[in-house]
Symmetry: C2
Subunit: 120 residues, 2 copies
């Protein structure tokens, strides 16, 4: 049973990674830093999951990237683009709306009645 | 830009549907009721997404189902199995842990520092 909940938790985390990555990239970070921060926050994410996501968010215009070749190995840094920075509050609103809805369902004694009341 | 956030929101909702469906199924409901409740809660989910998920949760032993053939058309009702009912608190804990972690990142002025502090 614990492996089943690990799986549900993993799927949930995957859906959250892009919103969290965008929030983290208010600061300039390279990919592996993000992996470490996610893991430290309990949102373990494989590099193979994160890196394609970062490239996609960049191609969508939300992130900017830059190679830093000064260190012992080149590192690709990411940061929110001006568009991404402007869009972040909207994303946080999506997050609050969704988690609010889920929280109300989880905390309600009769979620079916609750949702019917909301629909009115 | 709004369509992009619709997309991020949709992906996030998809990850949440199974946790919400299990919570809803503390009460006996048929599939389309769940679709309506999810929509009323702002978690729009297609029947084609939900129904395979319900079957999967049943095959994993978390749900029980039963056909009711008394009405004008047969309806398949679902409800938490005893195993599902026993497991729900653990699932809610997963939810709280994950949303707590995401919330702390979104609300932090320096999420990188925050995560480094948590790792210590």
């Amino acid at each position: 049973m614990s492996s089943l909940f690990d799986k549900i938790g993993a799927e949930l985390r995957r859906g959250l990674v892009q919103i969290v990555a965008l929030s983290l990239l208010r600061e300039r970070l390279y990919g592996y830093q993000i992996v470490k921060i996610l893991a430290a926050s309990g949102l373990e994410t494989e590099e193979g999951t994160l890196y394609p996501l970062l490239r996609r968010l960049e191609s969508q215009g939300l992130l900017l990237s830059e190679w830093d070749t000064h260190g012992s190995r080149p590192r690709k840094y990411y940061e929110l683009s001006p568009e991404g920075r402007a869009a972040l509050p909207k994303l946080e609103e999506v997050w609050r709306d969704i988690t609010g809805a889920v929280g109300r369902i989880l905390e309600s004694d009769s979620p079916a009645e609750l949702a019917e009341a909301e629909a009115k």
